[in-house]
Amino acid sequence: MSTGTTKLDVVVSDVVPVNELVTRFHFRRRDGQMLPTFSGGAHVVVEMRDGDRTRLNPYSLMGSPLDTREYTISVRRDDVGRGGSLFMHRSVKPGLEMVISYPVNLFSLDLRARKHLMLAGGIGITPFMAQTAQLAGEGGNFELHYTCRTASLGTYADVLRERYDRRIRLYHDDRDERIDLDRLLSTQPLGTHLYVCGPAGMINWARDRAASLGWPSEAVHFEHFAAPQPGLPFDVTLAVSGKTIRVGEQQSLLEAIEAAGVDPPYLCRGGVCGQCETNVISYDGKFIHNDHWLSEEDHRSGCKIMPCVSRFEGRSLVLER
Protein backbone atom coordinates (compact mmCIF):
# COMPACT_ATOMS: atom_id res chain seq x y z
CA MET A 1 0.00 0.00 0.00
CA SER A 2 1.31 3.40 -0.89
CA THR A 3 1.89 6.39 1.29
CA GLY A 4 -1.25 8.50 1.50
CA THR A 5 -3.29 6.11 -0.60
CA THR A 6 -5.01 3.87 1.90
CA LYS A 7 -7.59 1.79 0.12
CA LEU A 8 -11.33 1.36 0.27
CA ASP A 9 -13.25 -1.76 -0.69
CA VAL A 10 -16.26 -0.63 -2.67
CA VAL A 11 -19.02 -1.99 -4.84
CA VAL A 12 -20.32 -0.30 -7.95
CA SER A 13 -23.85 0.73 -7.00
CA ASP A 14 -24.87 2.35 -10.25
CA VAL A 15 -23.61 3.06 -13.77
CA VAL A 16 -25.38 5.92 -15.57
CA PRO A 17 -24.72 6.99 -19.15
CA VAL A 18 -24.62 10.81 -19.22
CA ASN A 19 -24.05 11.51 -22.90
CA GLU A 20 -22.38 9.90 -25.91
CA LEU A 21 -18.93 10.12 -24.30
CA VAL A 22 -19.41 10.31 -20.55
CA THR A 23 -20.61 7.71 -18.05
CA ARG A 24 -21.10 8.20 -14.33
CA PHE A 25 -20.16 5.57 -11.76
CA HIS A 26 -21.44 5.32 -8.20
CA PHE A 27 -19.54 3.50 -5.46
CA ARG A 28 -20.64 2.41 -2.01
CA ARG A 29 -18.62 0.78 0.71
CA ARG A 30 -18.85 -2.98 0.72
CA ASP A 31 -19.34 -3.02 4.51
CA GLY A 32 -22.25 -0.57 4.24
CA GLN A 33 -20.48 2.15 6.26
CA MET A 34 -20.21 5.80 5.31
CA LEU A 35 -17.31 6.72 3.07
CA PRO A 36 -14.61 9.09 4.35
CA THR A 37 -15.40 12.80 4.14
CA PHE A 38 -13.70 14.76 1.42
CA SER A 39 -13.58 18.36 0.23
CA GLY A 40 -14.49 19.72 -3.19
CA GLY A 41 -11.74 19.08 -5.74
CA ALA A 42 -10.60 15.75 -4.25
CA HIS A 43 -9.90 12.72 -6.43
CA VAL A 44 -9.69 8.99 -5.86
CA VAL A 45 -7.47 6.53 -7.69
CA VAL A 46 -9.54 3.68 -9.11
CA GLU A 47 -7.90 0.27 -9.49
CA MET A 48 -8.94 -1.55 -12.62
CA ARG A 49 -8.21 -5.25 -12.84
CA ASP A 50 -8.13 -5.89 -16.54
CA GLY A 51 -6.99 -9.49 -16.97
CA ASP A 52 -3.41 -9.69 -15.71
CA ARG A 53 -3.03 -5.97 -16.01
CA THR A 54 -3.87 -3.47 -13.27
CA ARG A 55 -4.58 0.10 -14.22
CA LEU A 56 -4.75 2.91 -11.69
CA ASN A 57 -6.47 6.06 -12.88
CA PRO A 58 -7.30 9.19 -10.86
CA TYR A 59 -10.84 10.62 -11.14
CA SER A 60 -12.36 13.63 -9.40
CA LEU A 61 -15.16 13.03 -6.94
CA MET A 62 -18.15 14.88 -8.25
CA GLY A 63 -20.81 14.27 -5.64
CA SER A 64 -21.57 16.70 -2.86
CA PRO A 65 -19.04 16.49 -0.01
CA LEU A 66 -22.08 16.77 2.26
CA ASP A 67 -23.23 13.28 1.24
CA THR A 68 -20.77 10.44 1.85
CA ARG A 69 -23.11 7.50 1.45
CA GLU A 70 -21.63 7.14 -2.00
CA TYR A 71 -18.87 8.50 -4.19
CA THR A 72 -19.51 9.42 -7.80
CA ILE A 73 -17.06 9.91 -10.65
CA SER A 74 -17.60 10.64 -14.32
CA VAL A 75 -15.42 9.06 -16.95
CA ARG A 76 -15.04 10.37 -20.47
CA ARG A 77 -14.42 7.62 -22.98
CA ASP A 78 -11.12 8.01 -24.79
CA ASP A 79 -10.99 5.66 -27.77
CA VAL A 80 -7.33 6.31 -28.50
CA GLY A 81 -6.09 6.44 -24.93
CA ARG A 82 -4.35 3.71 -22.99
CA GLY A 83 -7.52 1.85 -22.22
CA GLY A 84 -8.49 2.83 -18.68
CA SER A 85 -11.57 4.77 -19.68
CA LEU A 86 -12.59 2.06 -22.16
CA PHE A 87 -12.30 -0.52 -19.41
CA MET A 88 -14.55 1.60 -17.18
CA HIS A 89 -17.11 2.01 -19.95
CA ARG A 90 -17.11 -1.62 -21.13
CA SER A 91 -16.43 -3.75 -18.10
CA VAL A 92 -17.61 -1.92 -15.03
CA LYS A 93 -21.18 -2.89 -14.19
CA PRO A 94 -23.35 -2.47 -11.08
CA GLY A 95 -22.42 -5.05 -8.46
CA LEU A 96 -18.75 -5.23 -9.43
CA GLU A 97 -16.41 -5.13 -6.43
CA MET A 98 -13.58 -2.65 -6.85
CA VAL A 99 -10.80 -1.05 -4.86
CA ILE A 100 -10.34 2.71 -4.76
CA SER A 101 -7.96 4.92 -2.80
CA TYR A 102 -8.93 7.28 -0.02
CA PRO A 103 -9.70 10.72 -1.41
CA VAL A 104 -6.75 13.06 -1.92
CA ASN A 105 -7.22 16.75 -2.60
CA LEU A 106 -4.66 18.50 -4.77
CA PHE A 107 -7.20 21.05 -5.99
CA SER A 108 -8.86 22.38 -2.89
CA LEU A 109 -10.72 25.64 -2.53
CA ASP A 110 -8.91 28.41 -0.73
CA LEU A 111 -11.62 29.31 1.73
CA ARG A 112 -10.03 32.66 2.53
CA ALA A 113 -11.01 33.82 -0.95
CA ARG A 114 -13.68 36.52 -1.25
CA LYS A 115 -14.90 35.00 -4.45
CA HIS A 116 -14.20 31.81 -6.40
CA LEU A 117 -13.93 32.15 -10.17
CA MET A 118 -13.98 28.76 -11.89
CA LEU A 119 -13.07 27.83 -15.46
CA ALA A 120 -13.92 24.36 -16.71
CA GLY A 121 -13.22 22.77 -20.07
CA GLY A 122 -14.99 19.55 -21.11
CA ILE A 123 -14.73 16.75 -18.56
CA GLY A 124 -12.76 19.21 -16.38
CA ILE A 125 -16.19 20.07 -14.98
CA THR A 126 -16.13 17.15 -12.50
CA PRO A 127 -14.16 18.68 -9.58
CA PHE A 128 -16.36 21.78 -9.84
CA MET A 129 -19.49 19.70 -9.32
CA ALA A 130 -18.26 18.97 -5.80
CA GLN A 131 -16.75 22.41 -5.22
CA THR A 132 -19.91 24.29 -6.21
CA ALA A 133 -21.99 21.94 -4.02
CA GLN A 134 -19.65 22.66 -1.13
CA LEU A 135 -19.69 26.43 -1.67
CA ALA A 136 -23.45 26.58 -2.22
CA GLY A 137 -23.92 24.82 1.12
CA GLU A 138 -21.74 27.42 2.83
CA GLY A 139 -23.27 30.40 1.03
CA GLY A 140 -19.99 30.95 -0.82
CA ASN A 141 -19.55 33.40 -3.65
CA PHE A 142 -18.69 31.66 -6.91
CA GLU A 143 -19.07 31.96 -10.66
CA LEU A 144 -18.39 29.12 -13.10
CA HIS A 145 -17.48 29.50 -16.77
CA TYR A 146 -17.77 26.24 -18.64
CA THR A 147 -16.66 25.60 -22.21
CA CYS A 148 -17.74 22.49 -24.10
CA ARG A 149 -17.67 21.41 -27.71
CA THR A 150 -21.41 21.21 -28.27
CA ALA A 151 -24.48 21.57 -26.09
CA SER A 152 -24.98 17.80 -26.04
CA LEU A 153 -21.41 17.33 -24.75
CA GLY A 154 -21.92 19.93 -22.04
CA THR A 155 -21.75 17.30 -19.33
CA TYR A 156 -23.97 18.32 -16.37
CA ALA A 157 -24.45 21.81 -17.82
CA ASP A 158 -28.21 21.46 -17.40
CA VAL A 159 -27.84 20.25 -13.80
CA LEU A 160 -25.58 23.18 -12.98
CA ARG A 161 -27.84 25.72 -14.66
CA GLU A 162 -30.79 24.39 -12.75
CA ARG A 163 -28.97 24.47 -9.44
CA TYR A 164 -27.11 27.74 -9.75
CA ASP A 165 -28.78 29.65 -12.56
CA ARG A 166 -26.81 32.71 -13.59
CA ARG A 167 -23.73 31.79 -11.64
CA ILE A 168 -23.07 29.35 -14.50
CA ARG A 169 -21.94 30.68 -17.90
CA LEU A 170 -21.76 28.26 -20.82
CA TYR A 171 -19.66 28.55 -23.98
CA HIS A 172 -20.10 26.22 -26.96
CA ASP A 173 -17.23 25.75 -29.39
CA ASP A 174 -19.55 24.84 -32.27
CA ARG A 175 -21.29 28.21 -31.86
CA ASP A 176 -17.96 29.95 -31.70
CA GLU A 177 -18.57 31.20 -28.18
CA ARG A 178 -15.36 32.12 -26.41
CA ILE A 179 -14.57 33.25 -22.90
CA ASP A 180 -13.43 36.88 -22.94
CA LEU A 181 -10.74 35.93 -20.48
CA ASP A 182 -8.87 39.23 -20.20
CA ARG A 183 -12.07 41.08 -19.45
CA LEU A 184 -13.22 38.42 -17.03
CA LEU A 185 -9.94 38.42 -15.13
CA SER A 186 -9.68 42.21 -15.04
CA THR A 187 -13.11 42.79 -13.56
CA GLN A 188 -12.87 40.48 -10.55
CA PRO A 189 -12.95 42.03 -7.09
CA LEU A 190 -9.83 41.94 -4.99
CA GLY A 191 -9.52 38.65 -3.11
CA THR A 192 -10.87 36.51 -5.96
CA HIS A 193 -9.23 33.12 -6.51
CA LEU A 194 -9.15 31.43 -9.90
CA TYR A 195 -9.58 27.67 -10.40
CA VAL A 196 -9.02 26.00 -13.75
CA CYS A 197 -9.60 22.38 -14.76
CA GLY A 198 -9.57 21.26 -18.35
CA PRO A 199 -7.20 20.49 -21.21
CA ALA A 200 -3.55 21.54 -20.84
CA GLY A 201 -3.99 24.30 -23.42
CA MET A 202 -6.77 25.91 -21.44
CA ILE A 203 -4.84 25.71 -18.19
CA ASN A 204 -1.74 27.27 -19.75
CA TRP A 205 -3.79 30.02 -21.36
CA ALA A 206 -5.55 30.90 -18.11
CA ARG A 207 -2.38 30.81 -16.01
CA ASP A 208 -0.52 32.89 -18.53
CA ARG A 209 -3.21 35.57 -18.89
CA ALA A 210 -3.75 35.71 -15.12
CA ALA A 211 -0.04 36.19 -14.48
CA SER A 212 0.35 38.94 -17.03
CA LEU A 213 -2.74 40.75 -15.77
CA GLY A 214 -1.24 40.86 -12.29
CA TRP A 215 -2.89 37.92 -10.54
CA PRO A 216 -0.54 36.61 -7.85
CA SER A 217 0.21 32.93 -8.38
CA GLU A 218 -1.16 32.11 -4.91
CA ALA A 219 -4.61 33.04 -6.19
CA VAL A 220 -4.46 30.76 -9.25
CA HIS A 221 -5.22 27.04 -8.81
CA PHE A 222 -5.35 24.44 -11.52
CA GLU A 223 -5.78 20.73 -11.98
CA HIS A 224 -4.60 18.76 -14.90
CA PHE A 225 -5.05 15.03 -15.20
CA ALA A 226 -2.25 14.12 -17.56
CA ALA A 227 -2.36 10.55 -18.74
CA PRO A 228 1.12 9.02 -19.00
CA GLN A 229 2.39 9.35 -22.57
CA PRO A 230 3.30 6.17 -24.46
CA GLY A 231 6.80 5.82 -25.91
CA LEU A 232 9.57 3.39 -26.77
CA PRO A 233 10.09 0.53 -24.32
CA PHE A 234 13.12 0.84 -22.04
CA ASP A 235 14.82 -1.02 -19.19
CA VAL A 236 15.30 0.29 -15.70
CA THR A 237 17.23 -1.06 -12.71
CA LEU A 238 16.05 -0.32 -9.18
CA ALA A 239 19.12 -0.07 -6.97
CA VAL A 240 17.44 -0.79 -3.62
CA SER A 241 15.61 -3.95 -4.66
CA GLY A 242 18.16 -4.90 -7.32
CA LYS A 243 15.38 -5.52 -9.85
CA THR A 244 15.73 -4.86 -13.54
CA ILE A 245 12.43 -4.35 -15.29
CA ARG A 246 11.12 -3.47 -18.71
CA VAL A 247 8.79 -0.51 -19.21
CA GLY A 248 6.41 -1.27 -22.06
CA GLU A 249 5.28 1.11 -24.76
CA GLN A 250 1.88 1.79 -23.19
CA GLN A 251 3.03 1.45 -19.61
CA SER A 252 4.27 4.22 -17.36
CA LEU A 253 7.47 3.76 -15.40
CA LEU A 254 5.40 3.83 -12.22
CA GLU A 255 3.09 1.10 -13.53
CA ALA A 256 6.05 -1.07 -14.52
CA ILE A 257 7.59 -0.66 -11.06
CA GLU A 258 4.28 -1.63 -9.46
CA ALA A 259 3.90 -4.62 -11.78
CA ALA A 260 7.34 -5.79 -10.61
CA GLY A 261 5.98 -6.01 -7.07
CA VAL A 262 7.48 -2.80 -5.69
CA ASP A 263 5.07 -0.41 -3.96
CA PRO A 264 6.22 3.13 -4.68
CA PRO A 265 4.43 6.20 -3.30
CA TYR A 266 2.07 8.24 -5.48
CA LEU A 267 -0.92 10.55 -5.13
CA CYS A 268 -1.85 12.08 -8.48
CA ARG A 269 -0.32 9.82 -11.13
CA GLY A 270 -0.27 12.92 -13.29
CA GLY A 271 3.10 14.54 -12.64
CA VAL A 272 1.89 17.34 -10.37
CA CYS A 273 1.94 16.28 -6.72
CA GLY A 274 5.60 15.38 -6.25
CA GLN A 275 4.87 12.24 -4.30
CA CYS A 276 6.56 9.78 -6.67
CA GLU A 277 9.83 11.74 -7.04
CA THR A 278 12.75 9.34 -7.41
CA ASN A 279 16.51 9.83 -7.45
CA VAL A 280 18.45 8.78 -10.52
CA ILE A 281 21.65 6.91 -9.64
CA SER A 282 23.09 6.69 -13.14
CA TYR A 283 21.95 6.89 -16.73
CA ASP A 284 23.12 6.74 -20.29
CA GLY A 285 20.53 8.24 -22.57
CA LYS A 286 17.94 10.97 -22.44
CA PHE A 287 14.97 11.72 -20.22
CA ILE A 288 11.54 12.63 -21.50
CA HIS A 289 10.23 14.55 -18.55
CA ASN A 290 6.50 15.06 -18.79
CA ASP A 291 5.91 16.32 -15.26
CA HIS A 292 4.94 19.72 -13.90
CA TRP A 293 6.64 19.12 -10.58
CA LEU A 294 10.41 19.28 -11.04
CA SER A 295 12.13 22.55 -11.86
CA GLU A 296 13.82 23.03 -15.21
CA GLU A 297 17.09 22.79 -13.38
CA ASP A 298 16.09 19.40 -11.93
CA HIS A 299 15.19 18.28 -15.44
CA ARG A 300 18.56 19.31 -16.83
CA SER A 301 20.52 17.84 -13.93
CA GLY A 302 19.36 14.28 -14.70
CA CYS A 303 19.26 13.57 -10.95
CA LYS A 304 15.52 13.16 -10.52
CA ILE A 305 12.56 11.69 -12.33
CA MET A 306 8.79 11.48 -11.76
CA PRO A 307 7.98 7.86 -12.71
CA CYS A 308 4.23 8.45 -13.02
CA VAL A 309 4.53 10.39 -16.29
CA SER A 310 8.17 10.56 -17.40
CA ARG A 311 10.00 8.25 -19.78
CA PHE A 312 13.53 7.50 -20.88
CA GLU A 313 15.31 6.70 -24.13
CA GLY A 314 18.75 5.20 -24.07
CA ARG A 315 21.04 2.42 -22.98
CA SER A 316 20.74 2.25 -19.20
CA LEU A 317 18.87 3.81 -16.34
CA VAL A 318 19.38 3.08 -12.64
CA LEU A 319 16.93 4.53 -10.12
CA GLU A 320 17.24 4.50 -6.37
CA ARG A 321 14.03 2.66 -5.60
Partner: protein, 198 residues
Protein backbone atom coordinates in the same frame (compact mmCIF):
# COMPACT_ATOMS: atom_id res chain seq x y z
CA UNK B 1 17.17 45.36 7.52
CA UNK B 2 15.37 43.77 10.45
CA UNK B 3 16.78 40.39 11.41
CA UNK B 4 14.71 37.20 11.35
CA UNK B 5 14.42 35.61 14.76
CA UNK B 6 11.18 33.77 15.44
CA UNK B 7 8.56 32.56 13.03
CA UNK B 8 5.99 35.31 13.50
CA UNK B 9 8.67 37.95 12.96
CA UNK B 10 7.91 39.44 9.52
CA UNK B 11 10.59 39.30 6.87
CA UNK B 12 10.71 41.92 4.20
CA UNK B 13 12.03 41.80 0.67
CA UNK B 14 13.16 44.22 -1.97
CA UNK B 15 10.54 45.93 -4.11
CA UNK B 16 10.47 44.73 -7.69
CA UNK B 17 8.09 45.65 -10.52
CA UNK B 18 5.30 43.07 -10.88
CA UNK B 19 3.12 42.44 -13.89
CA UNK B 20 -0.25 44.04 -13.24
CA UNK B 21 -2.81 46.59 -14.30
CA UNK B 22 -2.58 48.98 -11.35
CA UNK B 23 0.27 49.64 -8.98
CA UNK B 24 -0.35 51.12 -5.57
CA UNK B 25 2.61 52.26 -3.48
CA UNK B 26 2.39 53.19 0.18
CA UNK B 27 5.56 54.46 1.79
CA UNK B 28 6.80 56.53 4.66
CA UNK B 29 10.08 58.43 5.22
CA UNK B 30 13.01 56.51 3.75
CA UNK B 31 10.64 54.04 2.11
CA UNK B 32 10.68 56.60 -0.70
CA UNK B 33 14.24 55.49 -1.47
CA UNK B 34 13.09 51.92 -1.95
CA UNK B 35 10.65 53.17 -4.58
CA UNK B 36 13.29 55.25 -6.37
CA UNK B 37 15.70 52.32 -6.34
CA UNK B 38 13.05 50.06 -7.81
CA UNK B 39 12.18 52.66 -10.44
CA UNK B 40 15.70 52.40 -11.82
CA UNK B 41 14.94 48.85 -12.97
CA UNK B 42 11.28 49.30 -13.88
CA UNK B 43 10.10 49.09 -17.50
CA UNK B 44 9.42 52.40 -19.29
CA UNK B 45 6.01 53.83 -18.49
CA UNK B 46 5.66 51.67 -15.37
CA UNK B 47 4.67 54.63 -13.19
CA UNK B 48 2.17 56.09 -15.67
CA UNK B 49 -0.68 54.18 -14.09
CA UNK B 50 0.81 53.99 -10.61
CA UNK B 51 -0.47 55.66 -7.48
CA UNK B 52 1.95 56.66 -4.75
CA UNK B 53 0.78 57.52 -1.24
CA UNK B 54 3.61 59.01 0.78
CA UNK B 55 3.92 59.95 4.44
CA UNK B 56 7.17 61.97 4.54
CA UNK B 57 7.59 62.30 8.30
CA UNK B 58 8.80 65.35 10.24
CA UNK B 59 11.80 66.23 8.07
CA UNK B 60 9.68 66.27 4.90
CA UNK B 61 12.38 64.72 2.74
CA UNK B 62 12.16 62.66 -0.49
CA UNK B 63 8.96 64.20 -1.84
CA UNK B 64 10.75 65.58 -4.90
CA UNK B 65 12.33 62.22 -5.68
CA UNK B 66 8.92 60.57 -5.81
CA UNK B 67 7.32 63.35 -7.82
CA UNK B 68 10.15 63.03 -10.31
CA UNK B 69 8.94 59.50 -11.10
CA UNK B 70 5.78 61.14 -12.53
CA UNK B 71 3.32 58.67 -11.10
CA UNK B 72 -0.25 58.74 -12.41
CA UNK B 73 -1.33 59.90 -8.96
CA UNK B 74 0.67 61.22 -6.04
CA UNK B 75 -0.66 61.90 -2.56
CA UNK B 76 1.15 63.18 0.44
CA UNK B 77 -0.23 62.73 3.94
CA UNK B 78 0.81 63.64 7.48
CA UNK B 79 0.13 60.22 9.06
CA UNK B 80 -1.02 56.70 8.33
CA UNK B 81 -4.27 57.39 10.17
CA UNK B 82 -5.03 60.20 7.73
CA UNK B 83 -4.60 57.98 4.64
CA UNK B 84 -6.58 55.08 6.07
CA UNK B 85 -10.07 56.04 4.80
CA UNK B 86 -8.72 56.70 1.33
CA UNK B 87 -6.80 53.43 1.30
CA UNK B 88 -9.85 51.44 2.36
CA UNK B 89 -11.88 53.12 -0.34
CA UNK B 90 -9.29 52.39 -3.03
CA UNK B 91 -9.01 48.74 -2.05
CA UNK B 92 -12.73 48.12 -1.81
CA UNK B 93 -13.18 49.37 -5.37
CA UNK B 94 -10.11 47.60 -6.71
CA UNK B 95 -10.00 44.59 -8.99
CA UNK B 96 -7.62 41.69 -9.31
CA UNK B 97 -4.59 43.00 -11.11
CA UNK B 98 -3.89 45.68 -8.51
CA UNK B 99 -0.41 45.20 -7.07
CA UNK B 100 0.56 46.57 -3.72
CA UNK B 101 4.02 47.85 -2.75
CA UNK B 102 4.79 48.82 0.84
CA UNK B 103 8.03 50.47 1.85
CA UNK B 104 9.40 52.15 4.95
CA UNK B 105 9.06 51.47 8.65
CA UNK B 106 7.64 48.26 10.08
CA UNK B 107 4.73 50.19 11.57
CA UNK B 108 3.72 51.50 8.16
CA UNK B 109 4.18 48.18 6.39
CA UNK B 110 2.32 46.28 9.09
CA UNK B 111 -0.66 48.60 9.24
CA UNK B 112 -1.03 48.89 5.48
CA UNK B 113 -0.76 45.11 5.24
CA UNK B 114 -3.50 44.72 7.79
CA UNK B 115 -5.88 46.82 5.70
CA UNK B 116 -4.88 44.97 2.52
CA UNK B 117 -5.46 41.58 4.16
CA UNK B 118 -8.93 42.68 5.13
CA UNK B 119 -9.50 43.65 1.51
CA UNK B 120 -8.58 40.13 0.42
CA UNK B 121 -4.94 40.46 -0.69
CA UNK B 122 -2.79 37.57 0.47
CA UNK B 123 0.25 38.72 2.43
CA UNK B 124 2.56 36.67 0.24
CA UNK B 125 1.48 38.60 -2.84
CA UNK B 126 2.40 42.04 -1.47
CA UNK B 127 5.79 43.56 -2.15
CA UNK B 128 7.47 44.92 0.95
CA UNK B 129 10.77 46.58 1.74
CA UNK B 130 11.91 47.79 5.12
CA UNK B 131 13.78 51.10 5.12
CA UNK B 132 14.65 53.59 7.79
CA UNK B 133 13.91 53.38 11.47
CA UNK B 134 13.52 50.02 13.23
CA UNK B 135 10.95 51.58 15.57
CA UNK B 136 8.20 49.13 16.50
CA UNK B 137 4.49 49.36 16.96
CA UNK B 138 3.84 47.53 20.22
CA UNK B 139 0.78 46.12 21.89
CA UNK B 140 0.82 45.82 25.67
CA UNK B 141 -0.48 42.31 26.37
CA UNK B 142 -1.85 43.49 29.72
CA UNK B 143 -3.95 46.55 28.87
CA UNK B 144 -4.02 45.91 25.06
CA UNK B 145 -3.04 49.52 24.38
CA UNK B 146 -0.90 50.19 21.32
CA UNK B 147 2.23 52.32 21.61
CA UNK B 148 3.67 53.64 18.34
CA UNK B 149 7.34 54.16 17.51
CA UNK B 150 8.90 52.15 20.30
CA UNK B 151 12.68 52.36 20.04
CA UNK B 152 13.81 51.16 23.46
CA UNK B 153 14.12 47.83 25.23
CA UNK B 154 12.38 47.62 27.66
CA UNK B 155 9.70 50.19 26.81
CA UNK B 156 7.02 51.90 28.84
CA UNK B 157 3.40 51.27 27.82
CA UNK B 158 1.93 54.66 26.98
CA UNK B 159 -1.46 53.51 28.26
CA UNK B 160 -0.98 51.66 31.55
CA UNK B 161 2.59 52.63 32.32
CA UNK B 162 3.92 49.09 32.83
CA UNK B 163 7.53 48.44 31.89
CA UNK B 164 7.43 45.99 28.98
CA UNK B 165 9.87 43.61 27.31
CA UNK B 166 9.34 44.15 23.57
CA UNK B 167 9.17 40.66 22.12
CA UNK B 168 9.80 39.55 18.53
CA UNK B 169 6.39 37.90 18.65
CA UNK B 170 4.41 39.74 15.99
CA UNK B 171 0.69 39.74 15.30
CA UNK B 172 -0.27 40.26 11.69
CA UNK B 173 -3.85 40.89 12.74
CA UNK B 174 -2.82 43.76 15.02
CA UNK B 175 0.23 44.78 13.00
CA UNK B 176 2.08 45.01 16.31
CA UNK B 177 4.77 43.36 18.40
CA UNK B 178 3.84 42.05 21.81
CA UNK B 179 5.11 43.80 24.95
CA UNK B 180 5.14 41.76 28.18
CA UNK B 181 5.75 43.11 31.70
CA UNK B 182 9.44 42.72 32.45
CA UNK B 183 9.29 43.11 36.25
CA UNK B 184 6.02 41.47 37.18
CA UNK B 185 7.56 39.71 40.23
CA UNK B 186 9.14 42.81 41.70
CA UNK B 187 8.17 46.23 40.37
CA UNK B 188 11.12 47.86 42.07
CA UNK B 189 13.46 46.03 39.75
CA UNK B 190 14.19 48.43 36.90
CA UNK B 191 16.47 47.00 34.20
CA UNK B 192 18.46 49.55 32.21
CA UNK B 193 16.59 50.93 29.20
CA UNK B 194 18.54 50.70 25.92
CA UNK B 195 17.98 52.12 22.48
CA UNK B 196 17.24 48.81 20.75
CA UNK B 197 15.24 49.81 17.65
CA UNK B 198 16.88 53.00 16.36
Amino acid sequence: MAAKSIISRPVYGTLSPQPGKHHLFIADAEGALAISDMAAGAPAGFFDGAEIVFIPGPDGKHVDALEALKPGQFHQAPSFASVLPRLKQTLSNAHMGLRLYLAGTEGLIGQAMQVALEAGIDHTSMQTEHRGSLARRMQCVHCKGITENVTTQPATCSHCGLLLLVRDHYSRRLAAFQGVCINAEDRSEIPPMEEAFP
